[in-house]
Amino acid sequence: MSAPVDIRLTVNGQPREGRCEPRKLLVDFIREDLGLTGTHAGCEHGVCGACTIFYNGEAARSCIMFAVQADGAELLTVEGLAESDGKLHPMQQAFHEHHALQCGFCTPGMLIAALDYLKINPSPTEDEIRDAISAVLCRCTGYINIVKAVKAGAEAMRAAKS
């Protein structure tokens, strides 16, 4: 029962599989077994948000889930945001243009937390953006440019839709 188990899931639209002990954290499975190192492991106890991914369409912390729980799930990680030709997602583009990252450690989690919130509220105020990204810690930027980028990214996404 603590022996390795098979895990099959969909990651960024591709069927993937792996085998690991039940105690393996989902973030470690994503990074080590699937080789997708864009998802970062920071605090490993659910506080910093660096490991945030889309789990069945909603943002969740992958450091406080076990990989075995994701059997059959659909994940989207930062690697799945850009288009296949490398064209950045509008939110990534906005982060690029607004200099919303320095070391970049928090960026995958920031992007996913922001996109998750925009699904609920596509036109957030600055206060609402601050509230939403309070789910992710950034030790470099001071957040100002991240807030600007999320605002701009949200506008670009709305413009692309209409």
Partner: protein, 291 residues
């Protein structure tokens, strides 16, 4: 920062889960949303022999209203409930409380039953269970029993649930439509654990206050109702002087903890301040709601 080895069980039914729980004689832990348990396991503050994962049991996340009681399956995700019209209508105090629970990405996984069974002294959902005089359903080898909020919370991270019992449902009496309500919380950062929080529900009839509910989180070892402070509002109404008296009484009633976040004195002070603010907010909201 990685969990120790454990046996992993993923039962398909509650009965199966109870049977496995019994086999481990208290050495197993139930995994609901995992937003508190897994961090503890990562730190190895918890090293259970077995994990019994409830996430694949069907039907444990249903919400329905029967006879004025909102019955919420223990595995209902906090995020689902936060946006559920049924909750917004019948339990707006819960909707408001959920916005204070962690962050949106933790509410994706976190469950209502998990938060209550974990019984963190700073958690908002147990405070709402107290404020609304709710109860939980516990199922064990002998069958089901109901545990009322005041009997449930024993000590920090400790409830009256037996080691072979599973919390399966949360029952909250629907709030009167004319009720005013509010939550006031003090924390260092958005989404952090509450250093002190107060939940209020009021029903007013002209100058009189016919129902007053005050409950705490983060202040003492367990969430409590502040009955004597409620009594002041029911006797004296919702004028400035009565509200101030109730707030002062609230500060006297609590048994505040001291830790690295705040001294006991500071928590007592916050209790008074937050109680006053919460009552006033609930009172004004009620005015708006009753037109």
């Amino acid at each position: 920062m990685k969990p120790a080895k454990f046996d992993y069980h993923c039962p398909a039914t509650v009965d199966e889960a109870i049977a496995v729980l019994g086999r481990y004689q208290g050495e197993a832990r139930i995994l609901a949303g995992g937003q508190s348990l897994v961090p503890m396991m990562n730190f190895r503050l918890a090293t259970p022999a077995a994990i019994i994962d409830l996430n694949r049991i069907r039907g444990l996340d249903q919400t329905e209203v029967t006879d004025g009681t909102v019955r919420i399956g223990a595995m209902a995700r906090q995020r689902r409930l936060e946006f559920a019209p049924l909750v917004a209508e019948g339990l707006p105090l819960l909707t408001e409380a959920l916005r204070w629970v962690g962050h949106l990405p933790t509410r994706t996984r976190g469950t209502i039953g998990g938060s209550i069974a974990h019984a963190d002294p700073a958690a908002e959902i147990p405070m709402v269970l107290q404020a609304l005089a709710g109860e939980v359903v516990a199922r064990g080898p002998e069958g089901e029993r109901c545990i009322a909020a005041p009997d449930l919370f024993v000590a920090p991270l400790t409830t009256a649930l037996g080691f072979d019992e599973i919390l399966t449902e949360v029952r909250l009496p629907a709030m009167p439509p004319e009720a005013g309500y509010a939550i006031e919380e003090f924390a260092r950062r958005k989404g952090d654990f509450a250093i002190a929080a107060i939940a209020v529900m009021l029903v007013r009839d002209g100058e009189r206050c016919t129902t007053a509910r005050l409950a705490t989180a983060g202040i003492g070892p367990v969430p409590v109702r502040l009955l004597d402070a409620e009594a002041i509002l029911k006797e004296r109404g919702l004028g400035e002087a009565a509200v101030a008296a109730a707030a002062q009484r609230a500060a006297e009633l609590v048994e505040p903890m001291a830790d690295h976040n705040a001294s006991a004195d500071f928590r007592r002070h916050l209790t008074g301040v937050l109680t006053r603010r919460a009552i006033l907010k609930a009172r004004d909201r009620q005015n708006v709601r009753s037109g």
